[in-house]
Symmetry: C2
Subunit: 243 residues, 2 copies
DNA sequence: CGGTGTCGGTACGGTAGCAGACAGACAGGA
DNA sequence: TCCTGTCTGTCTGCTACCGTACCGACACCG
């Protein structure tokens, strides 16, 4: 779709693809509302989604129904990663957590274009690694960090991927993401609020002091962001410049 | 190195590579002793290792020095995954946990051979996905399972990758892998021993009742093994047949 | 306006796992 | 043989987090 001018895209992968790669693809703009299911465990998907705004969550679920989030994806990336790794399916659920816009591409087309373009292969391979690194740091955080630190990490990761300071979601939802009890989220939010790092009200979290949040999260935040930037490059500023 | 007959290999990836792929590679057999460092965070490596026996651990470390294991690799796989994903380095440590044999290949050669062989690219891409899935289930386990269940999971994963029922390692070492306190490992081992699932003595764990261990681990074990088998195929039997 | 569902705050008892310390068992060397 | 280092078992608080339950606040709707 030649109408889509690469420089107008906000998705960091699409922007960094080699010139002309997109020319052969049908990029279809779509709006994804909250909790829209992008991918289900072991179900082949038709389309890959490259986000322009909004946030998607990747969640693993155990046979007994326990679950935790392993990655969040915004305009830094795409899903499903299995489309990049010669697999038809993966065992994850992906759904929209904050509604937004995306471009979608039929996976078969994406794979075909990819097989002809070594530079694009490299970019997507590095993105797959960036995602694996995110999984790894989530595993670490789940093992060693306290709830309030993990919450701070999570808010920071969302903040990186949204345009404003507001993130709209419920405690219930957060408790699923962090794999903790719902009331634990309430108290952890109060801790952050008490330190004036965020402002929180019904269904909404607002970042007040980003630097303070990073300090509070200590080593829970930062490493996998650095690794993303090393592998892919920085994400464009909010107005679409730079990058 | 034409001397290496593919059918005599035990490594599940090497065995499944397309005919002739290995012909262009210098596979060098090496013995890797316990705690040998295969890869360090952010350090480019010269060689990729395909294990024939023994077990390697992949560990993430936070800036403040906290750490946890995110994957274990035996003759089911290779390291480093970054060699397959167009990255020179990754933020992980990989080292031998149970000594063993491997074939190593210069990464530059591996990449060169790979770029000419689409089938091999597919196999390695699927392996990268299998590893990412292992990271994800580790994250889940760290979040929701109790120490004794995680220990059972870990013993099972080791057992899958060793020839006998014996696994030689100390509580100290296990505590690092599971990111828990060392005495917690002692008591968790006692739980498993009390249920006659394992036998444990100084520096040694012996599996007595594998089925019982799987039952004890509940949903902590199994999913990512299924996914590996779906993506790559079963691991050859211990005598090298089948597969 | 009152009804109903969703969401957030709080409380209480229970417990898994922590931090730190220490002592007994085993192994290998001098 | 003793000696030393490594490994394992155990103890005493202590606290973070859990399971469960309940109630108030808010928001939409007729």
């Amino acid at each position: 779709m030649e109408d889509v001018r690469q420089t107008m895209l906000r998705n960091n992968l699409l922007r960094r693809l080699p010139d002309g790669f997109l020319a052969g693809l049908r990029l279809e703009p779509v709006t994804l509302s909250r909790s829209f299911q992008l991918s289900s465990p072991h179900q082949p998907m038709d389309h890959a989604y490259f986000f322009e705004s909004g946030i998607a969550s990747v969640v693993v679920r155990s046979p007994e129904g326990q679950h935790t989030e392993i990655a969040i994806i915004g305009r830094d990336g795409m899903c499903p990663a299995s489309a990049l790794l010669d697999a038809d399916t993966d065992p994850f659920s992906v759904f929209m957590q904050v509604q937004g816009e995306a471009h979608r591409v039929p996976i078969s087309e994406l794979k075909a274009a990819l097989s002809e373009d070594r530079e694009a292969q490299g970019l997507f391979a590095r993105y797959a690694q960036a995602l694996a690194v995110q999984h790894a740091y989530t595993a670490l955080s789940n093992a060693v960090h306290h709830i309030d630190e993990r919450l701070a990490r999570w808010i920071l990761m969302c903040h990186d991927r949204t345009d404003g300071a507001e993130i709209s979601l419920t405690h219930e939802f957060l408790s699923i993401m962090l794999a903790v009890r719902r009331p634990s989220v309430t108290t952890a939010l109060h801790v952050l609020e008490g330190k004036k790092l965020i402002y929180s009200e019904r269904g909404l979290v607002i970042v007040r002091d980003r630097a303070g949040l990073e300090a509070f999260a200590r080593d829970a935040y930062g490493e996998c962001e650095k690794e993303y930037e090393r592998l892919i490059g920085p994400i464009a500023d909010r107005d679409g410049t730079a990058g």
